[in-house]
Amino acid sequence: GIQVEQSPPDLILQEGANSTLRCNFSDSVNNLQWFHQNPWGQLINLFYIPSGTKQNGRLSATTVATERYSLLYISSSQTTDSGVYFCAVVGRAGSYQLTFGKGTKLSVIP
């Protein structure tokens, strides 16, 4: 099946700093989503981005499908950005199975 790798596994930032999270996938995808899992375990949809670039406030994401990677940018980080960021993809056409990466654990310190 499709493989999803995220980097870095852990990231500690000072409040106000910027960061880039990376997601590599091993095959073509029909869907790519970025999620934020808060400390209470809730998965929050950040972006649905099988290709192209999107922005939502301080967050933006870019997926280069032909090169099989996606990037999530966080600018001016805040302590509330802490948590785990997951990239998840749907590979095989007609499948709905989301394959998740192992996540990037982000800690933003004041």
Partner: protein, 114 residues
């Protein structure tokens, strides 16, 4: 996007017992999914639940251990049977979104088995 609720939000159970987790959606959805997240790990799909048909289980998950019901288009249950400490996880339900492959997740049920 759909609003999804789960009950219970958390529970502590004795080994050998069973727990049924409920997932309620505020709109009719064709496809619902159940995921497991073991401590410190990523999410793994347990099964896909379509209304009116048997759930489809992923490799490594069996119906006897994780029976699923899908009685209508807004509700599903997952039962974790004959629990052991290895079943301690967050269990999340999700629903298919409007776009290809898109999914939205419920708040999860945090299960601890002692």
């Amino acid at each position: 996007s759909a609003v999804i609720s789960q009950k219970p939000s958390r529970d502590i159970c004795q080994r050998g017992t069973s727990l049924t987790i409920q997932c309620q959606v505020d709109s009719q959805v064709t496809m619902m999914f159940w995921y497991r997240q073991q401590p410190g790990q990523s999410l793994t799909l347990i099964a896909t639940a379509n209304q009116g048909s048997e759930a489809t289980y992923e490799s490594g998950f069996v119906i006897d251990k994780f029976p699923i019901s899908r009685p209508n288009l807004t509700f599903s249950t997952l039962t974790v049977s004959n629990m052991s400490p290895e079943d301690s996880s967050i269990y999340l339900c999700s629903v298919k979104g409007d776009r290809v492959g898109e999914q939205y997740f419920g708040p999860g049920t945090r299960l601890t088995v002692t």
